[in-house]
């Protein structure tokens, strides 16, 4: 374990901005994609019931 304190962890040796933007953007995009597929699935399910 190389982090002495939480603030040291967030600072990432001075590169916090770059590291956290990368990981944050990745997480955000993935969550957004999952939500988008989920909503599309819900919409498709509703229309299926309408047809049946």
């Amino acid at each position: 374990m190389q982090w002495g304190s939480p603030s040291e962890f967030w600072a990432m040796g001075g590169y916090g901005l770059y590291v956290w933007t990368s990981f944050g953007a990745t997480a955000l995009c993935m969550v957004w994609e999952v939500l988008a597929v989920w909503r599309r699935q819900a919409a498709a399910a509703v229309e299926r019931r309408d047809v049946a």
Partner: protein
């Protein structure tokens, strides 16, 4: 056609595939969450700080898996497209259709994280390195495929036209990679490379591989969920079509 006691042939039709995909999604999602969790733990708490790049190198734990996935997914998409064209199989076109957006997303992330890594390491947000450039062209091709599909109304034509373009692109990307490398030697530009320092600690490699595996599982889950949407949406169109044509039998006399 039985392999491990499962009748695979049965699942080649969309109707049978739909529930099977539904059963597989939770498992893949759980595996994705677990693997990404473990990967992040190793990446942030076990892997040591790099003595050259400091902690900025930790970006490669998302950058490299995203870049790999963007290429894997393109090749897999092109393979499905090729199978679809060769065997005239609708389910393979649906798979290709479902993979494209996830592939495009990973390509975008690879570019974004690449420039995040590049700024502190090279001092520039963007460098015309062979890998980054081919990644950019890959993104254009993903966008091309998605918009080609979107602008064709006839499903059959949309499937087949985007499949042809996917196959053309699979030849193009390696050519671009080598041509940009060639171009870099000509211009004697910054001789840069995305490969991290030659002696990467074993824990760094482990973190990267675990993250990649997690991204694989994530891609499986999302694509399967999307292919289910595609099947459902197409079925709906089909049932509309059936209602529209009441009398279908042609009588010959």
């Amino acid at each position: 056609m039985s392999f491990m006691g499962i009748n695979w042939f049965k699942y080649s039709s969309p109707q049978a595939f739909h529930p099977l995909a539904g059963k597989m999604i939770p498992w893949f999602s759980a595996a994705a969450l677990a693997l990404i969790g473990v990967g992040l733990y190793i990446g942030f708490f076990v892997a040591p700080t790099d003595f050259q790049q400091g902690d900025a190198y930790r970006i490669i734990f998302v950058h490299v898996p995203a870049a790999w996935m963007s290429m894997f997914l393109y090749v897999i998409m092109a393979a499905w497209a090729g199978i679809g064209l060769g065997l005239n199989a609708r389910p393979s076109f649906m798979m290709a259709q479902a993979i494209a957006p996830t592939g495009a997303l990973f390509t975008f992330l690879a570019l974004l994280t690449g420039s995040m890594w590049g700024k502190p390491t090279w001092g520039a947000w963007w460098v015309w390195d062979a890998r980054l450039t081919s990644e950019l062209i890959l993104l254009f091709q993903y966008i091309g495929i998605i918009s080609l599909r979107a602008s064709i109304d006839d499903l059959r034509r949309a499937d087949r036209a985007s499949a042809v373009f996917a196959l053309v692109g699979v030849v193009n990307v390696p050519i671009i990679y080598f041509s940009v490398r060639w171009w870099n030697t000509l211009h004697q530009g910054a001789s840069v490379s995305m490969t991290a320092s030659p002696k990467m600690a074993a824990t760094m490699v482990t973190a990267m591989l675990v993250m990649t595996l997690g991204f694989w599982m994530y891609s499986f889950a999302v694509t399967l969920a999307r292919v289910r949407c595609v099947i459902a949406e197409r079925e709906r169109q089909l049932s509309w079509g059936k209602n529209a044509s009441i009398q279908q039998v042609a009588e010959a006399r």
